[in-house]
């Protein structure tokens, strides 16, 4: 297990470094320079290059760049809000995104588990069909279709919820985006829970528990669900990817002041520094979560722990 963890950590660090290198190269390749202004004279331009350290050799620049990135110093924004440190921009927006993403995962996981258990318990009945249909729908239909549908019906026609996010009422205005964002989570967890639950329900230890006289929710949750939950951790990886891409569009639709909408704005206004900083943060989060999932999975499931040791 120790060797496995060390190997995974090394690969993760290497991946993050590779990403940083790619980002650095891209930064060099970007068309134009931040000092594109024709009014600048050559001496002014050199002075600016000196100020931002752009006159040093590339290797030194890269070294500095890596250190800065890992310290959370991403430079300043060029166009979105001039000369504001990007870390400051992100700091105010990250909590909003995490709150909505977290709510979405919470809602999705809870409802997904319930749907999955119902589908497994009433296997091959109408309820199973309904849950399966919801699951297929949620996996295949993009979250922004749900977002637009919800926004039009519940937001515009019925006016139950605000169509746009407002900081004054963070709870009520994050209902719709959270639901829209949670659909994929809900669907994939429901699918996985159903499959795993059906396997667990047919196993010998469930029959043993039943014959000992355990019944009802206690049997299903304490004995069934606990064992079915382990493999569900593996769904986390595609979930995170979806949350990241989903948040971009959802935040744009509901105009939520989060990291996703910041990235969209940065892309549309060619603010390279912000794009690169956010790419780095997204990658770092993604890699960290993948690493955590892999290690957690190894720790929880003894079969994997033993297999990896060989």
């Amino acid at each position: 297990m120790k060797n496995y963890i060390i190997k995974r950590v090394l690969i993760s660090i290497f991946t993050l470094l590779a990403i940083t290198l790619v980002l650095f190269i891209l930064l060099q390749l970007m068309p134009g320079s931040p000092f594109n202004d024709e009014k600048l004279t050559d001496t002014q331009r050199t002075a600016l290059n000196m100020k931002y350290g752009l006159d040093q050799p590339l290797v030194v620049q890269f070294g500095k760049y890596v250190i800065n990135m890992f310290r959370g110093d991403f430079g300043v924004s060029y166009t979105i809000s001039k000369n504001t440190p990007i870390s400051q921009l992100i700091q105010s927006r990250l909590p909003v995104s995490i709150a909505i993403g977290g709510t979405a995962v919470g809602i999705g996981a809870l409802i997904g588990l319930i749907l999955g258990i119902i589908a497994a318990l009433y296997h091959n009945t109408f309820w199973d069909g309904l849950c399966t249909f919801i699951a297929v729908l949620g996996v295949s239909v993009p979250s922004y279709v749900f977002a637009l549908a919800l926004s039009y019906t519940l937001g515009f026609k019925l006016s139950w919820f605000p169509m746009l996010y407002s900081g004054d009422k963070p709870f009520i205005s994050s209902v719709l985006p959270s639901i829209a964002l949670s659909m994929f989570t809900l669907a994939s967890i429901a699918r996985f829970t159903r499959t795993e639950m059906m396997e667990v329900l047919g196993s010998d230890y469930m029959r043993l528990a039943e014959s000992k006289g355990i019944y009802g929710p206690r049997l299903i949750i304490r004995h069934g669900l606990r064992n079915a939950l382990i493999p569900i951790i593996t769904v986390l990886a595609p979930l995170i990817v979806d949350l990241m891409t989903g948040s971009l569009v959802i935040e744009k639709i509901f105009s939520i002041p989060g990291v996703g909408s910041l990235l969209v704005t940065a892309i549309q206004s060619n603010d390279y520094n912000v794009i690169i900083a956010l790419s780095f943060i997204y990658s770092a989060m993604y890699i960290a979560i993948m690493l955590a999932v892999d290690i957690l999975y190894g720790l929880i499931d003894p079969r994997i722990r033993l297999a990896k040791e060989v």
């Binding site: 993760s12 295949s140 993009p142 637009l148 060619n270 997204y282 993948m290």
Partner: protein, 356 residues
């Protein structure tokens, strides 16, 4: 033994066991005779087709995909409008269809909610146009939504198929070669794939589109870089399963070179899994394209795709919902159908697989 049991059973009931001739039948040997009857040989693909046909959801999905593709091919030519011609005097017309307008639906009426109250508007009547029919309405620049939706579907499907096919070739070759050679080659190739896989797709696609100009080819390249890994994993896993088989050994003994063994001997045996994975990667490609358009990195104007149509009509979707509904529905239907089809194919090719 049998007799004793019967005797004791009847003794217990104090009834003498009397058997009539009708209680017995001659045991025929039909079952034994049938063992040697002949069966027509079952073609593998016939078998597959039969099993696929039994999966009604997948068949309906396939049919719907054909329908959508059919309209994507002929739809833009079905009326006189072109996808890029603007007619600013005829903008924001609600859908009107000849024939159906008498029934009170699709007659060009549109309910507008203004600050002063609800207002009924009919663009055709205001402009005095009796002979003009926009089947799905017209957009904010006076372009026909029907034509643009099918043109957009054409572009989206084009991108999806191009990207999926390229991914299939790259991923398949990568996985097959990595699995076949094993050892150092495999471990280097797998580490590389692991690192590429460690980078979120969103980041790769965004960055790539920043240095290249947005367009059809760029989106295909972006999808090409990110989507081959899933395919390569499937191909490698199948290769590891098959490479120790006897027919591979036989082929090698006969002097076949690695290239021939990989692509002529093993590849045909895993084609089912490859096709399934291909079908799964098409909706991913459609989604990624739509997502990129929504973010502003998609197909440049005046060309359109499903994603760009959705993002264009998003700004006015509360006042003119008929502009966003058709592309949204086509997109959702395509993704749903391709996913159900892929699920169906997976079960068809591998019936032993767990459900779902």
């Amino acid at each position: 033994m049998e007799k004793n049991k019967l005797a004791s059973a009847s003794a217990a009931h104090d009834e003498p066991a009397t058997f009539l001739p009708d209680d017995f039948l001659l045991k025929n040997d039909d079952e034994l005779l049938r063992i040697d009857s002949n069966f027509s040989t079952q073609n593998y693909w016939m078998n597959i087709a039969k099993r696929f046909w039994a999966n009604k959801g997948a068949v309906v999905s396939l049919f719907l995909i054909f329908m959508i593709s059919f309209f994507a091919i002929i739809g833009p030519g079905m009326n006189a409008f072109s996808y890029s011609d603007q007619n600013l005097t005829q903008k924001n017309f609600a859908p009107r269809i000849a024939g159906l307008e008498q029934l009170g639906i699709f007659n060009g009426d549109e309910v507008l909610r203004t600050t002063t109250g609800v207002k009924m508007v009919n663009g055709y009547k205001t402009a005095g146009l009796d002979k003009v029919y926009y089947w799905f309405g017209s957009d904010t620049l006076g372009r026909d939504v029907w034509t643009r939706v099918w043109e957009g579907t054409r572009v989206s499907l084009g991108i999806a198929f191009a990207a999926a096919l390229i991914d299939m070739f790259i991923g398949m070759s990568y996985g097959l070669i990595s699995g076949y050679y094993g050892g150092k080659v495999d471990s280097v190739m797998q580490r590389f794939a692991e690192i590429v896989n460690g980078i979120p797709r969103l980041v790769i696609v965004t960055l790539l589109l920043l240095i290249l100009k947005p367009g059809f080819v760029t989106i295909v390249i972006a999808l090409m870089i990110t989507e081959w890994i899933g395919m390569s994993r499937i191909a490698r896993a199948e290769m590891l399963k098959l490479k120790e088989q006897e027919y591979v050994l036989a082929s090698r003994t006969l002097g076949a070179r690695s290239f021939r063994i990989i692509f002529r001997e093993i590849l045909p045996n895993i084609i089912g899994q490859i096709i399934t994975q291909l079908m799964f990667s098409i909706p991913t490609a459609i989604f990624t394209e739509a997502f990129l358009s929504f973010v502003g990195l998609g197909i440049p104007v005046p060309m359109c795709s499903l994603g760009s149509l959705i993002s264009e009509s998003f700004s006015s979707f509360t006042t003119h919902p008929y502009q966003i509904v058709p592309p949204l529905l086509v997109l959702a239907a395509l993704m749903l159908c391709f996913n159900i089809l892929a699920d169906g194919l997976r079960e068809t090719f591998d019936p032993k697989l767990k459900e779902m």
